[in-house]
């Protein structure tokens, strides 16, 4: 298999796994979980979206990927912000009671991860990796105090 093919496979598998997680919560009905586990689940979804984007951009590296393309930077930063907004614990009880909205919000997490990584890489090569790293750190970090007390 070529490097490009392998990367496309990684992109597809991460995307499918992330979406499968969403479908699963829809199919089984969302079981009420504590806020910390909920945050961590979101971190996994975000990672799925970001991994798919990173593999896709690596597979389709454009020759013009070196110069800066400023139009992609703002979405690459608003992605993490959007991801964080979707992790507001105040919404969790409502989400737990409404599986469809819950599944949609999970799609939102995947999109936030995807947008962050994709737009970052489109802005300038390697920046998508950086924005992904920091978004992931924020998502995992949230599990230790955002709506959570000891």
């Amino acid at each position: 298999m070529t490097r490009r093919g392998a990367l496309q496979l990684v992109a597809a598998v991460s995307g499918v796994l992330a979406v499968a997680l969403v479908v699963r919560s829809l199919a089984e009905g969302a079981e009420a979980i504590d806020v910390r586990s909920h945050h961590l689940t979101h971190a996994v979804l975000i990672l799925g979206g970001a991994a798919a984007a990173l593999a896709l951009t690596a597979a389709n590296r454009r020759p013009d990927s070196l110069p800066e393309k400023p139009q992609w930077l703002l979405p690459a930063i608003l992605g993490p912000l959007g991801g964080m907004v979707l992790m507001v614990p105040t919404f969790y009880p409502y989400m737990n009671a409404h599986p469809t909205v819950h599944a949609l919000s999970h799609l939102g997490h995947i999109s936030a991860g995807f947008v962050t990584a994709w737009c970052g890489e489109r802005y300038r090569v390697r920046i998508g990796w950086t924005t992904t790293l920091f978004l992931e750190a924020m998502a995992v970090g949230a599990a230790f105090g955002f709506g959570v007390t000891r």
């Binding site: 690596a58 590296r61 020759p63 990927s65 070196l66 110069p67 800066e68 400023p70 930077l73 703002l74 690459a76 930063i77 993490p80 912000l81 964080m84 907004v85 507001v88 614990p89 105040t90 970052g120 802005y123 300038r124 090569v125 390697r126 920046i127 950086t130 924005t131 920091f134 978004l135 750190a137 924020m138 970090g141 949230a142 230790f144 105090g145 955002f146 709506g147 959570v148 007390t149 000891r150």
Partner: protein, 502 residues
Amino acid sequence: MSDTIETLARPAHREVTSDRTAKRVMWLYIGPGLILVGAMVIAGLGLRMAQGGMHTFQPGLFYSLMTLHGSAMMVGMALCGMGLLWYLFAQEGPLNPTTAVVACALILIGAVLVAISVLVGGFGAAWTFLYPLPFVGTYWPSWATGVFLAGIACVVLGWTIWCLQMLGGVLTRYGGLRGAFAWDLVWSPSKFAKSGQTPPPPQAFAVLVSAVDGLLAGSAGMLVGVALFVRWLDPTLPLDPLWVKNLTYIFGHTLANLTIYMPLAAVYVALPRYTHHRHWHTSAVLAVAWWATLVFVAIAYFHHLYMDFAQPRAVQYIGEAASYLAAFPPAVVTVFGGALLVYRSGFRWTLGSMFLYVGMIGWVVGGIGALLDVTVAFNIYFHNTLWVVAHFHTYLLEGALLFVLGWVFHCLEERSGIVSSRAVRTLIGLGVFGGGAWLLLGWYLAGAQGVPRRYALQPAPGTDISWWASLGGIILVVGLIMCGIEAIRLARRPAHREVPAA
């Protein structure tokens, strides 16, 4: 990945942003930055005089002004460092000015929002506060809290954009992290020399460290900012106070630290220009020193949490060790290197070179004050006393600000082809260094006596010390005003082609 590295090595990417554009961007940052700093020096003097009983502020106004002073100083100093680094890196590789303008605009919008929240709303929780502040026990309306948090969010967004732009620039220019860190120079020096490659210049390390640690600080700021904003909208939301405190200090401490490391690049670039044919080269030692700085700046913040018994014990040790180790790379490599560079070099003393040189002294003195404070045996006495205010003012006011002023005067001297007279230099030196030292001494002495920080009315002997320390503050302000007048005088001179200091 290999094809990426090949493409990155293409020399086509050496083209740089035009000097004219780069200078414009630089002044776009440094101009408002210095205006903010200047206005806040006056506010700071008002605060110090109030603590000395020279006049009184209405209850609450002191804390609101202190909040404005702290936040705006941090933003102002950061803007100066960002503009300076942007300009210096634009000489190395292409940077898009639009990105820089957007980042600057966001930061300035943030500063305006903070000013509205403080001056109109009376917000007064200080620039870093500990949860449950700013929600419990407040004397300002709730909207002011929201506006303050929104303002800080804009600053964080602008800062993050700048960091990403600089990181992208460094990685592209030097062929990824390996090149940017000068990895091969350190681990296989002979192979590196044979390859004919050149390592990144010293100022590129300042860019790299500011961008990486800056992104860490920005993410922590964004996370805690969202959490506090949501808590403002939904008062039932629980937040873990220790978590909030950790994030607050990853953000606040790291940002404050970086405001010193950013203008340091001016020393690398401008100081050698005042010597006879000496240069500041990137050596393996310098590279390793900056690697260490990258790590230690990121984890030194733990020393702010010594008093938190719930904090894991291991990180307390890490915090103390990292704070000590953080002092070595700059002190040993940069300041010692700077002193050697100047020694017997036929150094030309001008306002620019004087500020750069004295800035290194201020940095070391403030650093020693900080090291004493992070020593647990001392911290028991100094924690949250005016000693803290003393050491951070030493390296911000008599270190980082002097680096910025040194750079500004270097640019003005270079452009106008003239330097200030000895009399002007002496007067400004007496005002800025003499008055500054006098002001700082007051904080050190009061801190050693255990006078607490952030008190409008201080317990004895705070008020007496504040009174005479304010006189030093007045002298400092006079020195800074003279400095401003001299800068305007040089700026109004027609441009000259020759470089006086080279």
